[in-house]
């Protein structure tokens, strides 16, 4: 490692400082050196381990060195399992030290409102430059008029299904009503190819299916005031009754114990015909065409299509998962961290990351709807429209701490799980309603 002595450090810092104070960005570029403060600055960015490993690779191998070159900030990237991030956030906030920026999933920013820095300046500028934000990104990343995070991207699920297997039962596309899906699933299950869906305690796929399912029947957690619990309704009871039959007739009953990766494995091994998921199944199959093949020996990815979850009397929905870059209030690197966020979310830099996602996520700003990535693979195109048909947990209220608690306790998911296990639909709904009342009290 090259050693820097005190004299050369002073010389180096002096050049950057003078350039920064006299000539701004032009001066910095002319000096050929990043700004002085940045010479010794490290920004620690904690993220989830991406379901698209190529994106993590890009961050480490390309974006981090570029960041050091452009801003003089050494980027300390840390990727951990999504399920473990909240434990890290809690210990960081309580101890007042830890990563400078943490990538929050779903409505997490709402849980840590008081501990996040105000990033309104960065978020406003980026929003203006990139055609504005989707409503769902704004809803989770703002508290009142203040931005408590910079929206990063939006994930979400669509049904990945085996085209040829649905054709074998006489369907040239995925059913668009729940009744039609139940009929199709019944035929497929009889052939040993059930629909696969988790009803277990897992953060992504379980709420990703069961919340939109509830909404599609017209059910909801609370009224628009965000306080009056409205779960116990005829629509919800009907949805639960239907779910029991749907589960028995059409689904893989092992799903009660599935985590977020179980349906990926089941689909890729040819055990299930359809499952609500991000694009990771398709991307994995496409990456390894020789490993994942159909029973006819052809690459499986060529037999996979994506479709939205079916519609019901209440409409057709999905549960998008907004990602938000949260600048932690305790961070002593507020200025460099903001500079970094501004830089990494700018079009030329974010585009590299966005392209590496291949359609697994949608940008948080509207400008990315027009990106060329959507022309590369028509199978991934349906993911582009997810944010526009999305609702967030806590509907018809706003996503807040109570809706997060309801999700963490799996109240909605367990309502269906209990009914599937034999609890009468009315009792399952009543029990879940009472739990929600305590949470929203």
């Amino acid at each position: 490692m090259a050693r820097i002595d005190r004299r050369s450090l002073l010389k180096l810092s002096g050049a950057g400082a003078i350039a920064a104070s006299t000539g701004g960005i032009a001066g910095i570029l002319a000096s050929g050196r990043p700004p002085a403060y940045a010479q010794a600055t490290t920004v620690h960015w904690l993220r989830w381990s991406d379901f698209v490993p190529a994106s993590d690779q890009l961050l480490r191998q390309t974006i981090a060195p570029e960041c050091e070159k452009a801003l003089g900030i050494k980027l300390n990237l840390e990727m951990v399992n999504a399920n473990d991030i909240q434990a890290r956030i809690t210990s960081a906030i309580q101890s007042g030290s830890g990563p400078d920026i943490i990538l929050g999933l779903n409505n997490w920013p709402q849980l840590y409102t008081d501990s996040l820095a105000d990033v309104s300046d960065v978020a406003d500028d980026l929003g203006k430059a990139q055609g504005g934000y989707y409503d769902i990104s704004k809803a989770v990343a703002t508290a009142g008029n203040k931005w408590i995070g910079v929206p990063w991207c939006i994930g979400g699920g669509l049904v990945a299904y085996r085209k040829s297997w649905f054709e074998e039962i006489g369907l040239d596309r995925f059913p668009d009503t729940w009744e039609a899906l139940r009929d199709a699933g019944k035929k497929l299950k009889a052939k040993g190819r059930p629909i696969g869906q988790t009803l277990g305690h897992t953060f992504g796929d379980a709420p990703g299916f069961w919340y939109p399912y509830l909404w599609s029947w017209g059910g909801k957690e609370v009224e628009a005031d965000g306080k009056t619990v409205a779960l116990n309704s005829k629509q919800t009871v009907d949805s639960v009754k239907f779910a029991v039959g749907f589960w028995k007739d059409a689904c893989d009953e092992g799903g009660l114990a599935w985590d977020d990766s179980s349906n990926n494995r089941a689909f890729l091994s040819g055990s299930i015909s359809a499952t609500n998921n991000g694009a990771s199944i398709y991307l994995e199959a496409k990456k390894k065409p020789d490993t994942y093949q159909t029973e006819k020996g052809t690459p499986m990815f060529k037999d996979i299509l994506h479709a939205p979850l079916p519609k019901g009397a209440g409409g057709q929905f999905n549960l998008p998962g907004p990602f938000t870059s949260m600048l932690m209030g305790y961070s002593k690197n507020q200025k460099p961290a903001k500079d970094f966020l501004r830089w990494v979310s700018s079009k030329p830099i974010f585009e590299q990351w966005f392209t590496s996602q291949q359609g697994y996520t949608v940008g948080a700003t509207l400008v990315w709807e027009e990106d060329k990535v959507w022309t590369l693979d028509p199978v991934l195109l349906p993911f582009r429209d997810l944010p526009r048909k999305g609702r967030l947990m806590g509907y018809a209220g706003q996503p807040n701490r109570a809706s997060a608690e309801a999700q963490t306790k799996y109240i909605i998911v367990d309502m269906y799980a209990k009914a599937v296990q034999g609890t009468p639909a009315e009792d399952a709904v009543k029990g879940a309603h009472e739990e929600l009342v305590k949470i929203y009290a």
Binding site: Q86, H201, G254, A257, A417, Q421
Partner: protein, 312 residues
């Protein structure tokens, strides 16, 4: 050898003793000084978290928000929480059942290992494997074995013609609890076996020989010689095990996450879910503290019993 008074005199009369040395010559100060490291460690890692937990449980603190004093409100809320009651029942059942099986199997294994046979040392080391492997790793392996789609257990049972449709190990609420119990027993038996084996080896073989000469059969020798002498060790082992099992977390967290529909929810997993997942630190602390009176009672009863056994 010559030994003169003059040779030791300079030492005895040396004025080099500093004030600290003089202070430590007082037994009370010496005792306090020697105890200090232990007191600091216990205070830092046991007393402080405990007091902090109690403090949190009587406030409405959330992550990043210190909160205000709310008295026993959290305890009332938790008591009215349906999921908490399920967790209480599950934890008690889980602890009682696993302890019985771990004790029975551990004792059996210890008795077997106490015999002389070829490869004794190797077998004893091998037996410890489940206990040595990090819980998360071994539990992940079990998760695969119980996997609804790829279960190797189901595959074997199917190939042997014992089952005709797959068993939903972690998806059925009763089987899920049984599954986590099986894994806990598998992991805990070596601890019992090795600890009890150590206890067995302190029992003099002469006692057995004397009993055998008097005509005692194997069971009688166990009942009237081995068991009474092993009892104090057994009770201490059970005490440790109950405390650990009551506060078990990793195993259930990895295997089921407390599901399906809270069928395997335990104190610790629920406290984590509320404290970390929802950021409600005060309620998480309250759930954790709810274990305390139960464990305190168990510890007091057992320690009293141990003292009684020892004095007899």
């Amino acid at each position: 050898m010559t030994f003169t008074y003059a040779a030791v005199r300079p030492y005895a009369g040396t004025p080099r003793r500093g004030p600290l040395t003089r202070l430590l010559e007082d037994e009370r100060w010496l005792a306090a000084t020697l105890l200090l490291p232990t007191v600091v460690l216990l205070g830092l890692f046991i007393a402080y978290p405990f007091v902090k937990g109690v403090e949190l449980s009587v406030t409405d603190a959330k992550v990043g928000v210190p909160g205000h004093f709310v008295g026993l409100q959290n305890f009332a809320d938790v008591w009215n929480d349906g999921i908490f009651r399920v967790a209480v029942w599950n934890t008690c059942l889980y602890t009682v059942v696993t302890t019985i099986f771990k004790l029975a199997l551990g004792l059996w294994l210890a008795l077997l290992l106490n015999n002389n046979f070829k490869g004794k040392a190797f077998t004893r080391a091998f037996i410890l494997l489940p206990f040595i492997i990090p819980t998360v790793l071994s539990t992940l392996a079990w998760k695969w074995m119980f996997d609804p789609t790829f279960s190797v257990i189901n595959y074997l049972l199917f190939q042997l013609g014992i089952i005709h449709s797959r068993i939903n190990w972690l998806g059925d609420p009763h089987l899920a609890l049984i599954s986590v119990i099986i894994v806990n027993v598998w992991r805990g038996v070596p601890f019992y076996a090795i600890s009890l084996l150590a206890g067995l080896q302190t029992i003099s073989p002469e006692l057995h020989e004397a009993a055998a000469i008097d005509g005692a059969r194997a069971w009688q020798r166990f009942r009237h010689v081995t068991w009474p002498l092993l009892l104090p060790v057994t009770l201490v082992i059970v005490l440790f095990s109950v405390i650990q099992t009551f506060a078990d977390f990793q195993l259930v967290y990895v295997l089921t996450g407390g599901g399906p529909a809270n069928a395997t929810q335990l104190f610790a997993t629920y406290a984590y879910q509320i404290g970390i997942g929802t950021g409600l630190l005060s309620q998480g602390a309250t759930i954790s503290l709810a274990v305390f009176p139960v464990l305190l009672l168990v510890v007091i009863v057992q320690l009293l019993y141990i003292r009684r056994v020892e004095t007899h």
